[in-house]
Each structure stands twice: as structure tokens, then as C-alpha cells.
């Protein structure tokens, strides 16, 4: 099953490599990994998407918790949560496809953020599955480049991941 593990980690050089190294050393898979500073300058927040059986996920969370730099973590998949990913897609356009692309982008609530005589860049956020669906809806021959941030997430309701 797919899990989104959200981690508060010391904002120190080498902290990221400890997490990445743990996954490669123990043969766990990382589907995506995002990391950015938080409102507390001493902490970074990392969102890691991985797949595995319950036993493997249990080991992953235990091994992550064992890293001295990991302050706290939650498995978002265990409870109700919101997941978002940012994507930018550069699409080749021609006079007769521009309208169609704008239409599809609008359906997916995408925004066109760059326009040249021959290209659009579409920006879109949403759960990963929605972004996949948009890509599928566009003629693949016209896609020049796709950039995705990897998912990040937050739990619903009052509880939150903090110190």
C-alpha cells in the first residue's frame, strides 16, 4: 500500500542523506521525497511517499524514528488527510490546438503561466492522480516537459505535526 510519511527533521546538513541512505541501505523504495524549511528555522519538513506491506512500513517508521536527526513523524495514510502536488507542463501548441489545451486545463483548474507563439506552460496542483489524469488527457507528442514536485500532505482536523 502507498503511504505518505511526513517527517520533522533537524535542519542540518547531512540530515537528508541519512534518510535517503537509510532507504537505499535497507532496500525500501522511495516514490517521492520533498523537503523544505518550516516556520521553525531549526526544523525541516520532509514528505516521503513509499510503498510496502504493513510490516515494511512499520520497519520504515521505526528505522526513521531511530535516526537521531528525526524529531517526529506521522504516517498520513493512517488517518484522514489532504494531499497536494504541484506540476508544471510545457506543451507544444499550434493554432488549432491552443483552444483545446486551454479547455482541458480549465477543466482541471490548471493555469497557463507562460505563453510563447509555440508553447504553453500549464501549472496545476492537486492529488497526484488528478495530475496523472491531466497528462493522460493531453496528446503525449505535444508534451515537451513535465515537472512535478512530488506530493506533500497535511492531516485534516485539529491535530498537526509539530513539536
Amino acid at each position: 500500500m502507498r503511504h505518505i510519511i511526513s517527517i520533522l527533521i533537524e535542519n542540518e546538513s547531512g540530515a537528508l542523506s541519512r534518510v535517503a541512505g537509510l532507504f537505499s541501505a535497507r532496500g525500501y523504495n522511495i516514490e517521492s521525497l520533498t523537503v523544505a524549511p518550516t516556520e521553525d528555522a531549526s526544523l525541516s519538513r520532509m514528505t516521503l511517499v513509499t510503498r510496502g506491506s504493513d510490516d515494511i512500513i512499520e520497519q520504515i517508521t521505526k528505522q526513521l524514528n531511530k535516526l537521531i536527526d528525526v524529531v517526529k513523524l506521522i504516517d498520513l495514510a493512517e488517518s484522514d488527510h489532504i494531499e497536494r502536488e504541484l506540476m508544471m507542463v510545457k506543451i507544444k501548441t499550434s493554432e488549432h490546438t491552443r483552444e483545446e489545451i486551454r479547455g482541458i486545463a480549465a477543466i482541471f483548474r490548471g493555469k497557463i503561466i507562460d505563453v510563447t507563439p509555440t508553447t504553453y506552460v500549464v501549472e496545476m496542483t492537486g492529488p497526484s492522480s488528478k495530475l496523472d489524469a491531466f497528462i493522460a488527457a493531453i496528446d503525449s507528442d505535444t508534451i515537451i516537459e513535465v515537472v512535478r514536485s512530488g506530493p506533500t500532505g497535511i492531516s485534516r482536523g485539529e491535530k498537526g505535526l509539530h513539536l
Binding site: A25, N65, I68, K72
Partner: protein, 578 residues
């Protein structure tokens, strides 16, 4: 007090109560060595190879329970230390390794003797630090000791760039009495509800067994374990790392378990209905084939490291905490409980165990005209009255030492269990001898292993650490040969050593006593003579039966009840007694 970085390192070690540093100088640590030169409180032991430094510190740590301390230079000094760091990591040994690093401004420029020590050691340390600011140096060293010695212990590396130890830069020094790390709070006591559940299960067990490991020794809980076992009347088996945690001569002890464990220990594990694993981690050499591991048992597992629990074997009742307080909590509950272990069930369980014991799985040919390695270990046990510290290298000799030297006390059996590092025994013995100069220290080794760190004979001389080296010389890499015999139709690929040095002359060249023994009747007198030479390192080169194998054995991929036992003529058999 204002000190420079080099002085801060030395003063911090002093304030930490460090007695010995094992190390080797080099460019990046010259400032540090200058500070060491100017004091006498922390004694430096100059090894002959950085691997030896880590093993010596490791041996010191295993024997004393105090952290071992290592100092190496950058680059090759640091990489040479890695094997010893990994060895300590696998066996959860507290160790602090201070490695020199090239000056901060040139880090990352492929400078002379530069290596990314923090990167290289990351997978084999409990934690590591790169010191970037001399004002944080003392605190970092304190943190290193704190992390290395608490929770599940392990090695910690502190990488110190040369400019941090610059003698010209002085800063105020204060060694913190205590440090806290917000993300590191190892559990101490166990969860009461879990302990209650465990006690209830134990008191209803029909065929229980206590499976205890190195965690009992690390957690200083031998006394509690013994009391626990005596209170319940259950059989006890120890892992290779746990030997000595429970007195091996006690009648409830059924021997070591696992690949070269006793028949009775493995059969009892296989047939048990309740297992309590105490400070043990279900290593693959213990479990054998996982799918068939203890099929009838409900398992209770006490471990200070939650990641050890249900890692390979799913357990019914996990208890996260230090072994000692958890056993104390359990004992109290057992005493207060109205329920008692079923006497009848235990009687019939012990009867079964005694039947397995009657197989006498450890018998060997005592009439051989060749020296049997098992006989040497038995004689070593008698000559040292079972009180020696015994270090070992890795291979057949290690298993024989574990099988035929019954350890009654913890911290006396010192070997590389997890990583299986050849070359460990001699430097470890030196570390032990420095810690306990009045105790006998024997290094049981083989002609392969001893040559991996033989240069430390020189260290033993320089620092007057007289150890006795028991070299079970069969001119083979014996364990490799044994596996090749069993599973590769005796194709002895590169397990034969046809250019073995004259160990007697070698020992003499290093300034020690060398003795060669090639007849069984010479073994006892030679050992007596060697141990009578209190202030000399003695190298006993004992030419043993070259084809002897370690029995019993669970071959790779087999289950506990599928052991290969020795048959009367000394050859092996696949017959299953199960």
C-alpha cells in the same frame, strides 16, 4: 578557562573519565597529538593499524562496559577505522571515534588525505557529527558519549577538521554535565500493560524457554536474568553474543542456540509454546529458516530498540525498554501473582529436554592422536579455571571457543558476532588486558584470522599487555573449508594456506614467546607454562586436526529441528534425530 580546540578535545575526554585512547597520528590530527603529549591523564595507546585501534577500543568497551575511544587521522586513517566501527555497530558496542578531517576551507576540494568520513560511516554508526565551530566542540563530544552509551549503544564518529583544533584559536571551555537531544529519548522502563500480559502468558506456559542475547550484557542485567530464570524454573539459551549473561554451568542452561548451538537448545526452541526473547534480535544465524522458526510459540520480546522488535520474526507481546528495569518489573509482578508456573508441565518439559541432552551433541573423538581443537578449549577452560577473558577471531575456532568454554560471568566472552570480523581477536585482547591487567586474557584464533591484525603484537609489547594467543592452526580457513566440504563437494577453493609463517619465530621477532604444540599430551603443559608467564605475551601455535568440523550444525536454510550431528566415527551425518 580558555582552551584551543585540540586542548578541548583532550580535556573533554578527561572530563568524561576516559582512561585510554587507541589511536594513530597523522597530518589532520597533529594539533591533537601535541595536546595529548602535554598531559598524562588520558593515556594514548599507539596501535599499528587503525583497524587495531577500533578493535582494541571495542574489546576494552565490551569488557568494562565503558565506551571505547579511538583517535585517527583523516583519509586512510579514517577509512582503516571503518571495519572496526562497523564491527562495534553490529554488536551495539559503545564507542566514540574522533577522526581528523582536512581544514574546513578545503573540505570538498579533494584535498590530500580527504575523505567524506561522515558520509562513509553513516550506515555503520549510531550517529556522527562534523564539527564546524570550535565553540560547539565540547558539547559535541558530550553528545557523542551520550548517544554512544545510552539506549541501544553504538559507535559515534566525531569528525574534526584541522582548523577546529588550531592552537592559536582559544575559546572559553566548559564541559557540559548533561546534554539533551530533543529527538533522542530512549525508553527505559517497559509499558506496564505489556509486562502484565507477558507475565500472564509466562505463567500459563507449558513448554517455555528464555532466549537471551547480548542486550542482557549491555544492559548489565545478568543478575536479574538469573533471578528471573530461577524464579520461573525455565530453561535458558543464550545467543553467541549473550554467552556469560547466564551462568553456563547452571543446570537450567541448555547451551547456545542457532547454527552451531546445542541440539537441546535448538530442539527446545522449536518445540516451545512460549519464548521470551530478552535483549536478542532474532539474527539469521539464530533463527535458521524463518518460515519454520518456532512454529508453536507465542513470543514475548524485550528490547530497548523498538526497531529490533518484529523485524524478522513477528512477536505477540513487544516490550520496549531496558532489559534490567523491565526484568525487575516482571519479577515483582511474578512474585505478587497468585498464579505459579505449572510444576507438572515444567517437569515433563525438563524430562523432554534431558532426553535431548542425552544425545550429547558436543561429543568428539577424545582418543584421536591428533590435537582436537575442542580439547584445546576444554584445557584452556581448566587451566584458566573458567575465569579468563576470552577474545576470539572469526571462524571455526570462534565456535569452538563459544561451545567448549562455559562462561559463567558476563563481559568475559568477547567476539565479533554480528559483523564477523576476522582480525578482531588480538587487538580486542590488548584492549581487555589494559582494562584488567591482573586478569588472564586469552585470544583464541586461527591461522587465517590472526594474520589479519598480527601487527598488533607490537602494540602488546610496547604497552605491556601480555595476552595469551591460542592459535588453532589447521592450515585452512577452516569455516570456509567446512562449508566447501558440505555444500561444494569438497572443492576447496582458496581455503588452503600453503605459505603459513613460522608463528614461533614471528612471535619471537615481535619480542614475545612462541611455542609450537603438535601432540595432544603437550597441550595442557604448554598452556600451564604459558599462563605461568604472567608478564609475557605467549603465542601458542597449536597444530590441530586439519579436517575437524564444527558440530552440531544447522545448515543454511534449514530449521532448528533439522540439525546435522556428528556421528561416532567423527564424520558428519545428515540423519535427522527429530
Amino acid at each position: 578557562m580558555e582552551l584551543n580546540g585540540a586542548q578541548i578535545v583532550v580535556q573533554s575526554l578527561k572530563d568524561e573519565g576516559v582512561e585510554y585512547i587507541f589511536g594513530y597520528p597523522g597530518g589532520a590530527v597533529l594539533h591533537l597529538y601535541d595536546a595529548i603529549f602535554q598531559q598524562d591523564d588520558v593515556k594514548h595507546i599507539l596501535v599499528r593499524h587503525e583497524q587495531g585501534a577500533t578493535h582494541a577500543a571495542d574489546g576494552y568497551a565490551r569488557a568494562t562496559g565503558k565506551p571505547g575511544v579511538v583517535l585517527v587521522t583523516s583519509g586512510p586513517g579514517a577509512t582503516n577505522a571503518v571495519t572496526g566501527i562497523a564491527t562495534a555497530y553490529m554488536d551495539s558496542i559503545p564507542m566514540v571515534v574522533i577522526s581528523g578531517q582536512v581544514p574546513s576551507p578545503v573540505i570538498g576540494s579533494d584535498a590530500f588525505q580527504e575523505v567524506d568520513m561522515v558520509g562513509i560511516t553513516r550506515p555503520c554508526v549510531k550517529h556522527n557529527f562534523l564539527v564546524k565551530d570550535v565553540t560547539k566542540l565540547a558539547e559535541t563530544i558530550k553528545k557523542a558519549f551520550y548517544v554512544a552509551t545510552t539506549g541501544r549503544p553504538g559507535p559515534v564518529v566525531v569528525d574534526v577538521p584541522k582548523d577546529i583544533t588550531d592552537p592559536r584559536i582559544k575559546v572559553p571551555y566548559k564541559y557540559p554535565k548533561k546534554v539533551t537531544i530533543r529527538s533522542y529519548n530512549p525508553a527505559v522502563t517497559g509499558h506496564k500493560g505489556q509486562i502484565k500480559k507477558a507475565v500472564d502468558l509466562l505463567l500459563t506456559a507449558q513448554k517455555p524457554i528464555i532466549y537471551s542475547g547480548g542486550g542482557v550484557i549491555l544492559g548489565e542485567a545478568s543478575k536479574e536474568l538469573t533471578e528471573f530464570a530461577h524464579t520461573l524454573g525455565f530453561p535458558v539459551t543464550n545467543t553467541l553474543m549473550g554467552l556469560g549473561a547466564y551462568p553456563a554451568t547452571d543446570k537450567q542452561f541448555v547451551g547456545m542456540l542457532g547454527m552451531h548451538g546445542t541440539y537441546e537448545a535448538n530442539m527446545a526452541m522449536h518445540d516451545s509454546d512460549v519464548i521470551i526473547a530478552i535483549g536478542a534480535r532474532f539474527d539469521d544465524r539464530v533463527t535458521g529458516k524463518l518460515d519454520e522458526f518456532c512454529p508453536h510459540a507465542q513470543i514475548i520480546h524485550i528490547d530497548v530498540d523498538p526497531a529490533s522488535i518484529s523485524k524478522t520474526v513477528k512477536v505477540a507481546i513487544p516490550i520496549v525498554g531496558e532489559v534490567k528495569p523491565v526484568l525487575e518489573q516482571m519479577l515483582e509482578m511474578i512474585r505478587e501473582s497468585k498464579k505459579k508456573p505449572s510444576k507438572k508441565a515444567l517437569e515433563s518439559w525438563w524430562k523432554q529436554i534431558d532426553e535431548w541432552r542425552a544425545v550429547k551433541c558436543m561429543e568428539y573423538d577424545r582418543n584421536s592422536r591428533l590435537i582436537k581443537p575442542q580439547y584445546v578449549i576444554e584445557q584452556l577452560y581448566e587451566v584458566t579455571k573458567g575465569e579468563a577473558y576470552v577474545t576470539s577471531d572469526v571462524g571455526q575456532h570462534q565456535m569452538w571457543a563459544a561451545q567448549y568454554y562455559p562462561f559463567d560471568k558476563p563481559r568475559h566472552w568477547i567476539n565479533s558476532g554480528g559483523l564477523g570480523t576476522m582480525g578482531f581477536g588480538l587487538p580486542a585482547a590488548i584492549g581487555v588486558k589494559l582494562a584488567f591487567p591482573d586478569s588472564e586474557v586469552a585470544c583464541v584464533t586461527g591461522d587465517g584470522s590472526i594474520q589479519m591484525c598480527i601487527q598488533e603484537l607490537s602494540t602488546a609489547l610496547q604497552y605491556n599487555a601480555p595476552v595469551k594467543i591460542i592459535n588453532l592452526n589447521n592450515s585452512y580457513l577452516g569455516m570456509v573449508r567446512q562449508w566447501q566440504e558440505f555444500t561444494y563437494e569438497s572443492r576447496y577453493s582458496h581455503s588452503y594456506m600453503d605459505a603459513i609463517p613460522d608463528f614461533v619465530k614471528l612471535a619471537e621477532a615481535y619480542g614475545h614467546v612462541g611455542m609450537r604444540i603438535d601432540k595432544p599430551e603437550e597441550v595442557r603443559p604448554a598452556l600451564e607454562e604459558a599462563f605461568a608467564m604472567k608478564d609475557r605475551t605467549v603465542f601458542l601455535d597449536i597444530l590441530t586436526d586439519r579436517t575437524e568440523n564444527v558440530y552440531p550444525m544447522i545448515e543454511a536454510g534449514k530449521a532448528h529441528n533439522d540439525m546435522t550431528l556428528r556421528v561416532a566415527d567423527g564424520t558428519s551425518t545428515d540423519r535427522e534425530l527429530a
